[in-house]
Amino acid sequence: MEKPKVAFFEFTCCEGCQLTVLSLGDKLLDLFESVDVVNFREASSYRGQDYEIAFIEGSISTSKDIDRIREIRKKAKICVALGSCAHIAGVNAIKNFHNQLEVKKRVYGEKAWAFDSILAQPIDAVIKVDYVIPGCPIDKKEFLCVAASISNGVRPFIPEYSVCVECKMKGNVCVYHKPNPIVCMGPITRAGCGAACPSVGNACEGCRGLVSDPNLEAYEGVLEEHGISADDKMRFYRMYNGLVGGVK
C-alpha cells in the first residue's frame, strides 16, 4: 500500500498543536514511517505541494488566509481541522466581541489601518472540513487514533458525550462540589481530553467545543445557582466558544 501524503499548515494560532504532534516521541517515528509528511514547518524545511491529507491548525483572520486555505482545499483530498483555533476559532475569536478598530490599534499601534485583519473565523467558515481534532492543544492519543482512522479510510471516533463522563471515570471530585467551587464547562463540553483540566484541579474551559446538543438553559441555571453574573458567563463562553451556535 502506498503511504498517504500528509501536510501540516498553520493559520492564526500558536502552533502548539503541531508541537504536540512533534512531541509524540516513539510514536512520531511510527507516524513518519506510516505516512509521507511533505509539509511540516515545525519539523522540516521541505515544502511539498503534493498532498492528500491536510492537517490545518489556526483560525482564518486575514483576507489572505481565505485565498490560501482555498488553495489547500483544492489540493487536499481530506482536510482536518487541528485544534480549537481551526475548529471553533477558539481564543482568536475573543477579539470579535470588541470594537475592531480599538483591537487593531491595541495590537498594531497607530499604523493599524495598514494591516489586513478580519474577524477571526473557524476554517469551516471558508472551506469544507472533513474531520476535526478538537482541543487546545490537541490530545496526543486522539491525534494518533484519528490519523490512523483516516489513513485506514474510516471516519474517526470523536466523543459526542461530555467531559463529565471522562472526569467521573477518573473518580475526580467534581469542581462544583469542592469547598470553593469554580465554574466548569464540563457538562456541556465535548470529551476526548480525558478531563485533562479538572483532573489537575482546574475547571474545564470548553476548548474542545460544545457537545452536539448542549442543554444551555440547564447550564445557565447551574451558573446562576453558583452566583455567576451574566458578564462572567459570557466571558466564559467567549474564551473558546464565542462563535458556537446556540451560545447567546
Binding site: 490512523a148 485506514n152 479510510g153 474510516v154 471516519r155
Partner: protein
C-alpha cells in the same frame, strides 16, 4: 477465550446488487456451517474498523457458505464494501432469536418486505420455497423506493413466475422501466385475498413501515399472534450485556430481533 473474539472468515464472492447494496458470500475458515435460523444476525468485524450487526440473507443450510446483504451506510459497512473476494473478516454469532420455521409448517404465509428488509426476510422466504410442500399459500409483498433499489432482482423474477407463490412489488417512485404498482406497500393490500385466521404475516422493513402495515393487517382482522416483525437496534455486543439494544425491559439481541407482535405491542419503545 472470550465471547467477544470473532471467528475468522473469508469472503468468497462479492456481488453488487444495487448502487448501495452488495451481497457477500462468506465462509468460516473452520469450515463449520453457521447453523442459523432465518432472522438471526451475525456481528461482522472488519479488522481495524469495528463490528456491525448484519442479518443473514441466506437460508439455513449445512453448507459452510452463508450470505450477507450489506448496505454501505456506516464505517463498518463502508469498509466491508471495499473488501474483495479472498479477503478476511471476523464473524461472531449467529445471535438472537430468529423464526422457528417448524412453527409455520402447514400455515399460509404472507411475507411483507420494505427496502433492505428483504435481506433478512429472504432467508426465510428461501427456506419456505425450498420445502414449498410443507406450507399453505405463500404471498410475497415487496416495496422499495425506486425500481433501481429493488434487491435480488433475478430472484424476484423467479418468485413472480412461480405458480405456487403470489408475488407483488411496488415502488414509491416509478420510472419509464417500471410497469408495476406505484405507491407505498400498503397500496398492495387491496389486491390480495388471504384468510386472516390461517395466515402468518411476517414484516421486515424500516421502522416507519411497521405501524402502517400492522394497521392494515388489523383492518383485515389478522390476530396479533399471527403477526411477526424484526426490529433493528444498535447492537454492540450481541450477547445481552452492553445495553444498547434494550427496548423497555427487552434485549433485542437476546429475545429478538424477531418478535411476535403480541409480545411487543405493549412495549412503548418498540415501534
Amino acid at each position: 477465550m472470550t465471547v467477544y473474539k470473532p471467528e475468522i472468515a473469508k469472503i468468497k464472492k462479492v456481488e453488487q446488487l444495487t448502487k448501495t447494496e452488495r451481497l457477500f458470500d462468506i465462509e468460516l475458515l473452520s469450515g463449520k456451517s453457521l447453523d442459523h435460523q432465518p432472522g438471526q444476525f451475525v456481528e461482522v468485524y472488519v479488522f481495524g474498523v469495528g463490528e456491525a450487526p448484519i442479518s443473514i440473507s441466506s437460508e439455513p443450510s449445512k453448507q459452510p457458505t452463508f450470505q450477507l446483504c450489506v448496505r454501505a451506510v456506516g464505517n463498518v459497512t463502508n469498509a466491508l464494501h471495499n473488501k474483495r473476494a479472498g479477503e478476511k473478516i471476523g464473524i461472531r454469532g449467529p445471535y438472537g432469536k430468529g423464526f422457528e420455521y417448524e412453527y409455520f409448517i402447514g400455515k399460509d404465509i404472507l411475507f411483507i418486505a420494505g427496502g433492505l428488509g428483504l435481506a433478512p426476510l429472504r432467508s426465510f422466504i428461501r427456506a419456505v420455497l425450498n420445502s414449498r410442500g410443507d406450507y399453505g399459500k405463500v404471498y410475497i409483498l415487496y416495496g422499495a423506493r425506486r425500481p433501481q433499489e429493488l434487491l435480488f432482482r433475478d430472484e424476484l423474477k423467479e418468485w413472480e413466475a412461480r405458480k405456487d407463490v403470489e408475488y407483488h412489488a411496488t415502488v414509491d417512485v416509478g420510472d419509464e422501466t417500471w410497469q408495476g404498482n406505484v405507491g407505498v406497500i400498503t397500496t398492495l393490500f387491496p389486491d390480495i385475498r388471504f384468510d386472516p385466521r390461517k395466515t402468518q404475516a411476517i414484516i421486515i422493513g424500516p421502522p416507519v413501515m411497521y405501524r402502517f402495515v400492522i394497521n392494515e393487517l388489523k383492518n383485515r382482522r389478522v390476530p396479533d399472534e399471527n403477526i411477526w416483525i424484526s426490529l433493528e437496534r444498535k447492537m454492540k455486543c450481541g450477547v445481552g450485556k452492553c445495553g444498547h439494544c434494550q427496548i423497555n425491559n427487552v434485549y433485542v439481541c437476546q429475545e429478538g430481533p424477531v418478535f411476535n407482535y403480541k409480545q411487543i405491542k405493549s412495549l412503548p419503545e418498540a415501534i
